[in-house]
Each structure stands twice: as structure tokens, then as C-alpha cells.
Amino acid sequence: MLQIPLWNRLFILLVLLAGLTFAFPNFFYERVERHNDAVAEMEREGIETDELLAEQALWPDALPATLVNLGLDLRGGAHLLAEVQVEDVYVARMDALWPEVRDALREVRDTVGTIRRIDADPGLLQVRISQPEGMSAAVAAVRELGQPVVSLTGGIGESTLDVSGSGDILTVRLSEAEQQATNDRTMQQSIEIVRRRVDEAGTREPTIQRQGQDRILIQVPGIGSAQELKDLIGTTARLTFHPVVGRAGSADEQVESRQIVLPSIDPDDQGTFYILEQTPVVTGDDLVDSQPSFDQQSGLPVVTFRFNPTGARAFGEYTAANVGAPFAIVLDEEVISAPVIRQAITGGAGQISGNFTVESSTELAILLRAGALPAEMTFLEERTIGPELGADSIEAGQIAALVAFAAVLVFMILSYGTFGIFASIALVLNVGMIFGVLSLIGATLTLPGIAGIVLTIGMAVDANVLVFERIREELKTARGPARAIELGYERALSAIIDANITTFIIATILFVLGSGPVRGFSVTLGIGIVTSVFTAIYVTRLLIIFWFERRRPKTIEV
């Protein structure tokens, strides 16, 4: 008969209650958000100021504080799709390998003769040997340098190097497996550094994800423009300190090997080029801290830095030995400044003065703290959405959702009377459940996501309509209303399941293939399907049973 066991009833009510509890904080979005921000900050900084405590007090700790994340199109912010030039790293690896290759070939000089590195495509290391008949010995010697690839995805045991000889030219490149492993490392490092830089800038809940082989998706809510974000994450920020050999008139000046010519970006020094030793004394890798500051004498903005012990020792030894000589501070192949060493800097701390503004010194300090990117990035896609546009969209979406809601409720009640009221209650609970699930799993609500909810409002009643229509039909033949209701639910089930599974398949495909707002839509659509089936099948049924048990009607009208 028309019954659900007690524990089933409790379970249904419990699920409902849980869903609504998690949805509830969304009604007080701003307060809860400020509360959450304050709690997060206190945890991170480990300090409790009165201001933060006041913010925290906006929402009781005992209540759940789950919120739906608002997507970029609703909150405003910047979206970037960056492509990491992973091949950059191959080039660097080959350059680093050259001394080892040279030494290895020198050891077998008797068979290979003299060697010379020749210009090759990026990522290749090519060496000409004077005795081609010794090529096999040369290849064998260089192969010795290879190591087994360390990687989780296959290729175990394969060598890191791919060495081949043709005529008198020996070619070395990274093996496929090593390229893959290198790419993975490069991507991980890049993502980590992008994350640190964005975090350093103190923005809220950024999304930083790897996409495909060599891409990073970066979404930062609340930032003014994509350009601002690009300035922050787009620079490689490789800081190096080089001994200065001399000055040059142009970038093309001939220099000895292991020397480089770099331009100065100091406006007082315009058009100057410095000849530097290629090997840096210390690099930004050895930095432990960097802060924007002001020069004590001139009052101009500067950037201070502090080295780790290794860096401090190297820097101290070099400055002690070269008092009176200039050294260059180089950022991304440009000389920021080239001061003269006045005394040995042994404390491991120093400052960079250049032509800084307060903003640029702050930015550089952030970049230096976060570390250098392993490879350059280019930007394939960028979107900026202003916060006002997002707020307008939320408002419009809310109004539309409410109107849609009201219209559907009226329509249902007019069509199905008492049963329509049950369906309407279920619909309200359904939307509550959607928000509860969205909040619980930390999903992101986008503008198409709101459309998804509105669509769900329209479609969620479908399951109830199927059941009610079926009950109407069963009433004509079945024995009594209780039996008709039971049969209605039973026989409508297969259509409900089929109809919703097919829609769920679509939601899944959208989720897998879509990105950004479209993915947000698929999430609300998918969750909406699950919750609407739950509310339509279980909740309305429970409501009808409660009603039926109290009233015991002899006849019902659906």
C-alpha cells in the first residue's frame, strides 16, 4: 500500500535538512563572505585584530558558512589562458649540458679529434668532430651522460638523452620521455609560481589550473583588468647578479666567449649596453625575501632583498674580492642598475635602486619573492569582466528566477490543485537543494549557471507532471485513490529515469568538454537533475503520504 518505512522517511527528511542547511548561508552572502575572509586571514596570519574579530562576529561560528562561489562573469575579474613555452627549457637544458658534453668528448680526444659546438635548431645540441670515423666512440661517450628518466608516466629506464651521429656531426637532444617529464616539471613549476604570485598580490580565491599539455588557466576574481594580471604573472622575473666587464656602444658588439651584452633600462643611462660575464655570481633562486622600501638617503623607492646562507656567502665573497668594481643587477636580460661595490656585503642583505615608482617596486618585490618562471608564457585568451556588469547580471538573474518561479508555481497549482501545491513545495525545496549541493562541493555559479537553475525550475516539475498525469490515468481504472497514487509513481518511474539519464548524459558531456561559464551551466544542470528527481520522487511522495494519512480521502482529484 501507500507507505514508506519510517527510517526511509527520516532519511529523506535528513537529506532535505542537510541540503537546506548548506544552502541557508547564501541568503546572507555578504556577511558570510566577510566572516569567511576574516577567519581565513586570521588562520593564515596567525593574528587577531579587533577589526578581524568584528568581521568574524558578523556570522555565528556555530552555523555553517558554506557559500556558492560566484563565477567571474558574476563577480567581475580577469581570466587568462596562458601557454607555457615549454621548449624554452629544452634550450636551457642543452646549454647546461654543453660543458659536460665537451668534457666527455675531450676524454676521448684521441679517437674523435677536436670538437666544436655549432649553431643548431633550438633544443638541439650539435657538435662537429674533426675525425668522423670516431663518431661511434663519441656517441657512446655522450650517451654515458644520460640518466634513466624519472617519471610517473611510462618511459621508465629510458635515457634522458637522445644521441645520434651523422657524418661529422653529433646531435644531442632530450629523449621523448625526458621531454614529457620535463614538460610536466615545467608546468608544475609554472603553476606553482603563478599561484604564489597571485597569492602574494592578496586576491581572493583564484583559480589556477593546468589545461592540456602546456596551458594554464588563470581566473582571478576582483582584479581590475586582465592586463594587471598579465603584468603580475607574465614576467619571467629572473634576477641575476653579474660581474661587469665593460660598456658597449651597441647590442651587436663583439665580445669574448662566455660574455654577454645586455641593455640598460635605467633612463639616466639610456642607450648604454653592458658587457657582462655570462655566469652570474648569484641568482634570484637564492633569495629568501624581498620587500619594497625607500632609500634612507634619497627617499626614493627601492627593493630590498635577503639571500639564503649559500647566496649570502657567494655574494659576500665576491663583493669582498671586488671592492671598487661595478656589478650588474639584471632582471630578465635587462640591466636594472650597475652600481660600484663600495664595501663587502656580508650580511646577505641588500637593496636594488633603479628608476622605481612605489608601484613598480612593490611589483618587483612580489615577483622576486615568488621566484622566477622556468619558461616564458604567451597569452592565448584573456577576458576582463567589470564588477558592475557582474552585479547587474546577478540582479537580472535573480529577478528572472523569481518571476519564473512564481509563474511555474501558479501554473502548477492551477493545473493540479492540492497536488500542485505539493509539487510547488518540492520545487522550492529543489532550488534550496541545488544551492546546498553547489555550496557543499564548492562549485562555481556562472551566469549560464543561473540560466541552468531557471531551466531546472521549468523542467523539475516534469517528473511530478509525469507522476500526476499517470495518477489521473490510474484513477480511471485503479481500485481507490491510494492504489492509484502508488501505481502512478510506480509506472511513471521508467519514463522519469530515462528522460533524466539522457539529460544527465548531456550535462556530463558539457562538463567534460566545456570550460568556464559553460561548465558552470553543466554543473547546475547536472545537480538540478539529481535533486529534482530526488524531490519529485521522494519528497512529493512523502508530502502526499503525510497528507493522505491525515485526511484519508475517499476520492481524490489530481
Binding site: D73, E381, T384, A396, A400, E469, I506, G514
Partner: protein, 326 residues
């Protein structure tokens, strides 16, 4: 007194004008494809690459002035369109400026965007704001097209297989024919009215597919039930019976969904209007195709009448999951 969209008992013969309705569908599809080929879709930057800038001005300015302000910048193809919405303030004049992907530039150039903003501020309205700026490089847009096509084909394929497993192959052919009908008609209307076709439209297309299949499946489900019940009646009659029995539900669900969507179309803001329009249109053609296309195809293909045994030969996997109810 209850609101009834259809009388309690209906006995429409949905095949009476089959030639007309089915013919109309075919004509509409051909017309859609013809418009699509001749006029083409108004692709957004998602698929074309390029930049869209939304501008928000405080004074009403003719679109021609925007154009002349940007003329000197040598941007190639520039599309400028006014945006209207009931939610706008009285002195809010919104325009979108779309420029094509710049020649030979793989990534996005901030200089171009800055030049446009400066030119508009100087020549159109000095208090203009730019609520959104979106750029997509040609490399990504090419991939997005590919993903979009894969998404549509994958969903059609998935549904084909699902319906085949749950029903019979004739049903899945009928259902997919109805879906293709809906998708083509949607593409047709987007070409006809030159509504912007972007990633969100693809999401809408897939939603239409999901919605339309929903409708079709409900009718098929009833059809299967009736085919078991009335073994001797002609297929055509059983189909009519099933469609009539589910007609009330079909129209109720379409009605509530359309109501919700109309609210969103009118009040939901201009940003998602194209998206909502696509879905609303899909609900209408989807409902039509469930009644007039899917069944007709199944009728043409014929279907086995003895449902007591698993199907033979070719359809070995035909009904093995038909009784799975979870």
C-alpha cells in the same frame, strides 16, 4: 476548476497530416541549411578569434560615430552593435565593438585594446566605461570550434547508444533524427536573425538536445508499454494512443519550461539573451519534433511487435536493458 491545456480525453490522429507536418519539417531543415550556407552564422570571438569590447556610455551616440572614431586604427573588420535591455538605466547606452583577430598575432595585443579605448574616450564619450573586454587568439578559437563539434556529435552518439540499449534501434534512429532536426532548425534561425553564435550557443544546442530527447523518451516509453499491452493493434494506432495519452504531460512540461525561459529572456539581461533564446526556441521545436518527427521515423522503419522475447539477430543487444529501472 482546473487549468487544462488539453481536454481530459484526446483522440488526435497525429498522422493524419503526416505528409504536411513531416514535409514541413524537411522543408524547414532544407531552408535552414540554405540560409546557413548563404548568409552564414554570426560567429562570436570564441570561434573567430578577435576581441570584443563592451562599452557603456552616458550619452546616446550614433554607431557611425563609433565607427569613425575607430577608422584610423587600421583594425580590419570591425562590427559595432547597439545593445538594448529593459534593465538598463535611462542614460545608459551600451555598445559592443568586435574586432577581428589581428593579422599574424597569435596571442592578444594589449596595445590594440588600449588604442581602441583611447580613441573611443577621445571621440565618443569621455565618461565611457568598459565593463568587459574579451580576447581570444586564433589558435584557441580553432580548437574551440573543434571541441564544439565534438561535443554535439558525442552527445548525439551517446543518446543513440542509450536509446538503442533501452529500446530498439528504430527508436534511437527516430530520436536522433528528431534531435538533428532541432539542431539544424536552431542553426537556421541563428543564421536568419544573425544572432551571435558562440560557446554558450553550443551549450544551448546541447541543452536543446537534452530537452528534446526528454520529450521523445517519454512518448517512446509509453509506446513501448502500449505495444506490449495491445499486441494486435496497428502500430500507427498504438502510436497515436501513446501520443494522446502523454500529450497533456508534454504540453505541461513544455509550458512550465517555456514560462521560466520567457521570464529569463525578458528579465535576465542582455548578456545571456542569445543563450536563453536558443533554448526557448529549442523547447518549441523540440516539442514539435517529439510529436511529429521522431514517431514518424519509427513508423517508417517499422518496429517488432512481439515484445515477450528478446529481439533476434541484428538487434541482439536490443532490449536487454529494457527492464532496468534504476
Amino acid at each position: 476548476m482546473r487549468l487544462r491545456l488539453v481536454p481530459q480525453e484526446t483522440n488526435f490522429d497525429f498522422f493524419k497530416y503526416a505528409k504536411v507536418t513531416f514535409g514541413a519539417s524537411i522543408v524547414a531543415m532544407i531552408a535552414s541549411i540554405a540560409i546557413w550556407l548563404m548568409v552564414g552564422l554570426n560567429f562570436g570571438i570564441d570561434f573567430l578569434g578577435g576581441t570584443t569590447i563592451r562599452t557603456d556610455a552616458t550619452v546616446e551616440v550614433d554607431v557611425a560615430e563609433y565607427r569613425s572614431a575607430l577608422d584610423g586604427l587600421d583594425l580590419g573588420d570591425v562590427v559595432i552593435s547597439r545593445v538594448f535591455d529593459p534593465n538598463f538605466d535611462e542614460d545608459q547606452y551600451v555598445v559592443t565593438v568586435r574586432i577581428q583577430a589581428q593579422e599574424g598575432v597569435e596571442a592578444v595585443t594589449p596595445e590594440t585594446i588600449e588604442a581602441i579605448e583611447t580613441a573611443l574616450l577621445a571621440n565618443v564619450d569621455s565618461e565611457m566605461t568598459f565593463p568587459s573586454v574579451e580576447s581570444v587568439g586564433p589558435k584557441v578559437s580553432g580548437e574551440l570550434i573543434q571541441t564544439a563539434i565534438i561535443a554535439v556529435l558525442a552527445s548525439l552518439g551517446a543518446i543513440l547508444v542509450y536509446i538503442w540499449l533501452r529500446f530498439e534501434w528504430q527508436f534511437s534512429v527516430g530520436a536522433v533524427a528528431a534531435l538533428i532536426h532541432d539542431v539544424i532548425l536552431t542553426i537556421g534561425i541563428f543564421s536568419l536573425f544573425q544572432i551571435r553564435f558562440d560557446l554558450a550557443t553550443i551549450a544551448a544546442l546541447l541543452t536543446i538536445v537534452g530537452y528534446s530527447i526528454n520529450d521523445t523518451v517519454v512518448i517512446f516509453d509509453r509506446l513501448r508499454e502500449n505495444l506490449i499491452k495491445y499486441k494486435q493493434r496497428a502500430l500507427r494506432d498504438v502510436m497515436n494512443l501513446s501520443a494522446n495519452e502523454t500529450l497533456s504531460r508534454t504540453l505541461m512540461t513544455s509550458g512550465t519550461t517555456a514560462l521560466a525561459l520567457i521570464a529569463l529572456l525578458v528579465l535576465g539581461g542582455d548578456v545571456i539573451r542569445g543563450f536563453v533564446f536558443a533554448i526557448l526556441w529549442g523547447v518549441i521545436v523540440g516539442t514539435y519534433s517529439s510529436i511529429y518527427v521522431a514517431k514518424n521515423v519509427v513508423l517508417m522503419l517499422g518496429v517488432k511487435r512481439d515484445w515477450s522475447k528478446p529481439s533476434d539477430g541484428g538487434g541482439a543487444s536490443g532490449t536487454q536493458f529494457a527492464n532496468v529501472d534504476a
